[in-house]
Point group: C2
Chain length 555, copies 2
């Protein structure tokens, strides 16, 4: 024990020295982890020694913020930037989220596929507009050039292009990790590795029918997850393109101007306008005209206004989009989804591949903070780091998606006339489950989350052998009962009770040396405050399984 105390002292000195020399924060974190582990080790050794226990109970060190200079030669024990581990408690919450979402997806006929984590680099090329720079590439180790998937949509389209014969139509869901070299904002759930939950309908159908069911699926998911009120912003690429056309945006600037509009939920109009005119060379008059349209929002009644708009109503593309929206609002009424949606002309979505309806769900009360002048706070990067200052960012959109009718065709090659060999229209939604996760984790007390499912703990008393406890567990396992025993030859009695409490195990089977010989065991309800059961109720060993099964059935 003195040896450990000595090491704790040394480790503490080391950390203080690292801090004063402004060492890499990550190096300090790693050293602090070691210190905390040593303290835990000491604590475990000294539970019977009050003085030592008091020393061990001193609060764990926290790393102070250091500079981000790289510590030379030091082994940094950490996760890669923008990635994290999930603890058993966190996993319990995550699995609950997944099962809630999958239940909704299956209710709507969803079936699942899986695609690899990496794709040939050329598959991802030219699909993500300005965000392509965020794609992770694998090192060329003498084979193909590959990249980690950026989303689940492009791999799905690639799957359809390769298997179009068998999957002319499919409602597929896919829950898997995707990768983006973005600025991490951990507490808001924005990571470089994160899960997406996608539901997409592929196939040639009549207009807006699958689109409206996707919105119904989304409202069911967000409702079942109990995240509070939400709004689904809707817009249509053809309406947007029509707006750009009538405002005088040249055809070759439409996508880049659309990207600028997409930033309106994070930046004030003045800055977006500046990006359009100064960075992207748009005529200021065109920008001002756009500015008038993109501040419009409302419900189905906004459609009338846009149809009546002299310029827009006469634009062919806009007209197609408005007709789609008319149909959509009709279907959303039938599906009881209307109350969740807002037709919002400022919604543009960054991705290149959308061709029709687009949408984005936002939680109420999670928008970025509003400044005194009424403008939205701008996301800023913390000085001296490349992490976003999280106080300036809202949770943002919790789900998004849209229609992409040409993506499969981009993979199918073209015929002599330049038309794609295969067209499978698609519409889908992606739920940002990491954001859901960070919201739900904040609502839970970590220690109240049960991460194991053990039903019975086998407690040995009075020198009963490990084989005897093992034998009872074997009988329980053979009967399909979830059971554990202490991995010690002579476990302390109190430690065994402590495990029952810590892991919230409902039942204990208690065996002593004498009882084993007599063919008896005791069963104790660990959650009941009923004092009459005392050290447990005695049963013949032969009745153990039946009694436990009957008690578990009543839980």
């Amino acid at each position: 024990m003195e040896a450990i105390e000595q090491r704790i002292t040394e480790q503490g000195n080391k950390i203080r020295s690292l801090k004063s020399s402004k060492a890499d924060k990550e190096v300090i974190t790693a050293e602090v982890a070691i210190l905390n582990a040593l303290k835990a080790e000491l604590k475990a050794l000294t539970l019977s020694d009050p003085a030592a226990a008091a020393a061990a109970a001193a609060p764990a060190e926290k790393p102070t913020k250091g500079d981000d200079k790289k510590g030379k030669g030091a082994f940094t024990l950490k996760n890669a930037k923008g990635t994290k581990d999930y603890t058993p408690q966190e996993m319990a919450i995550r699995e609950k989220i997944f099962s809630t979402i999958v239940k909704v997806f299956k209710k709507h006929g969803g079936i699942t596929i899986d695609t690899p984590v990496f794709e040939l680099k050329e598959i991802l090329s030219g699909k993500y507009g300005e965000d392509s720079k965020l794609i992770y590439d694998l090192e060329d180790q003498g084979g193909e050039k590959c990249s980690l998937r950026y989303d689940l949509t492009v791999p799905f389209a690639r799957f359809l292009a390769m298997n179009g014969k068998e999957y002319q139509n499919i409602k597929r869901y896919h829950i898997a990790k995707v990768y983006r070299r973005d600025q991490p904002a951990m507490t808001k759930g924005r990571m470089r590795e994160f899960y997406q939950c996608d539901f997409d309908v592929a196939g040639t159908y009549d207009a807006m029918i699958p689109d409206s069911e996707i919105l119904r699926v989304l409202t069911e998911c967000l409702t079942e997850l109990e995240l509070g009120d939400f709004t689904i912003k809707l817009n249509h690429r053809k309406i947007l393109d029509g707006i750009f056309e009538v405002c005088g945006v040249p055809e070759d600037k439409i996508r880049t101007i659309s990207s600028a509009v997409d930033k309106l939920d994070k930046l004030p109009w003045a800055e977006v306008r500046k990006e359009m005119t100064e960075d992207k060379g748009l005529d200021p008059k065109a920008a001002d005209l756009i500015g008038e349209y993109v501040q419009l929002k409302g419900g189905a009644e906004l459609l009338e206004r846009l149809y009546a708009d002299a310029k827009l109503g006469a634009n062919t593309r806009a007209k197609e989009g408005l007709d789609d929206m008319t149909l959509l609002f009709k279907y959303l009424d039938v599906l009881n989804v209307t109350r969740y949606v807002s037709f919002d002309l400022s919604l543009a979505r960054g991705l290149d591949y959308y061709t029709g309806l687009i949408y984005e769900a936002v939680l109420e009360g999670s928008a970025p903070p509003t400044l005194a002048n009424g403008e939205k706070a701008r996301a800023t990067v913390k000085k001296g780091t490349d992490e976003l200052d999280e106080s300036t960012v809202g949770v943002g959109s919790i789900a998004a998606g849209g229609r992409y009718d040409n993506l499969v065709g981009m993979f199918s090659g073209t015929n002599k006339k330049g038309q794609p060999n295969l067209v499978i229209p698609c519409v889908g939604v992606s739920i940002g489950v990491e954001r859901v996760f960070s919201i739900l984790m904040q609502k839970q007390k970590k220690e109240e989350i049960k991460s194991n499912e053990v039903e019975v703990y086998v407690v040995g008393l009075g020198g009963v052998s490990v084989e005897a406890r093992m034998k009872i567990c074997t009988e329980l396992w053979d009967a399909g009962i979830k059971a554990e025993f202490a991995y010690k030859l002579k476990p302390r009695t109190q430690n065994q009770w402590d495990v029952c409490d810590r892991d919230m195990i409902p039942l204990a089977v208690i065996v002593g040396g004498d009882e084993i010989e007599k063919g008896l065991i005791k069963i104790k309800d660990m959650r009941s405050k009923d004092e009459s059961q005392k050290g447990g109720i005695e049963y013949p060993r032969t009745q153990m399984i039946a009694e436990i099964k009957s008690r578990l059935a009543q839980l």
Copy 2:
């Protein structure tokens, strides 16, 4: 329709031309996929036209084997080498495998964590011996050097080293993908991206207790998966090291000689001996002595023979290993696992980090083919490709693992005396679930696997509106019933029945225009051959949910 026929002709010509010019096989495959998609499109369009339907029913083209020369400039529509997509039917089997395994893991108190797909490169360095060359690296895009995880064990040890305070002991399972730049052998389930199912026990316990439970967990998993008979080969690193010591292997050659022994399940002894003496410079006398030991196998009785061996019995390391094995066999008896194990001195396991018990499960009847001379066939690489010739490889080991007491310490840093700052002994097993998958897929007929869970299909007759069908689905969804309807304004009646058959949907709710007005619907049991229900039994609309729930409860 003629346009499509024209495109089919053109595409056929293109493929014939590619084949005759010996184009890249993958290019041809992609072009054939396009052709098949066109044919399917034509078929869909021509179901009412018998002549056209006959043409469309012509068998789909299959790509012939071409050379592997890279087609220049061609867009190759394919998965990255060694990776594959999983179809909905395959996913249904895969999820059944996972749920079977997870059920066993949870029965033994397992809890799950998740770690990222990539780790800092230095975390993986020096952990995998000769296999380190198979690690995938990410391109350095101006950040940290990262690699894709090679297994789930090293990331678990890294997790423990970082969180040792909170997780001094944990039974964790983890089911996730890992990455190895190995030679793919698709039909045997060996891929570059594949799932592992790991169960590990971390913590300081009395000898061989968790080790024996791990073997019990493994036997339960393999039994529940119904893979047929299997054997778990057991050995102990300390016994092996003792053997190497008494045979005269220099200390610095022990790991590399151990790697050579590990190949004995794939190569005959003569070749392994050659590798030891010629490639690794071992004294041939030492090799011959090793040869005598490593052909020994048996049960607990082999222990007596080894204890009695004059040289080995006197070796300290071997003695420790033998004592462990004695204890293990005692516990395996209690756990009813003895009949599945074989103590096999030729088992070495390739990984560097094992320190004690090691094991590997092999399915009976899946060993590599034996040649006429009694030697095992050697895995060979197909000429002109870098794929393994699968006829020369068995499914091989289906699960493997062992004890690794020092891995966590490798991450914790060392104190002034060179001892690790944190020691958490671990033992675990990894189930090769892809191999399980390829065995189980071979047993199933693909078309008999139901991949969706839809309970009710809403069939519209006689010009009933899409809104009316949508409205009924909404009622069903609101009641938690899994339901679908056709995404067409005017779906053909036969097409709707076809969907019920294809997707094995048990119930249909049938609505016609007249019935809607009268507040009536019909329900039909789609699986029953009962002719008396004819077009379905009529119910008031208000009783629909109750009737369906009652019918579903009886399924």
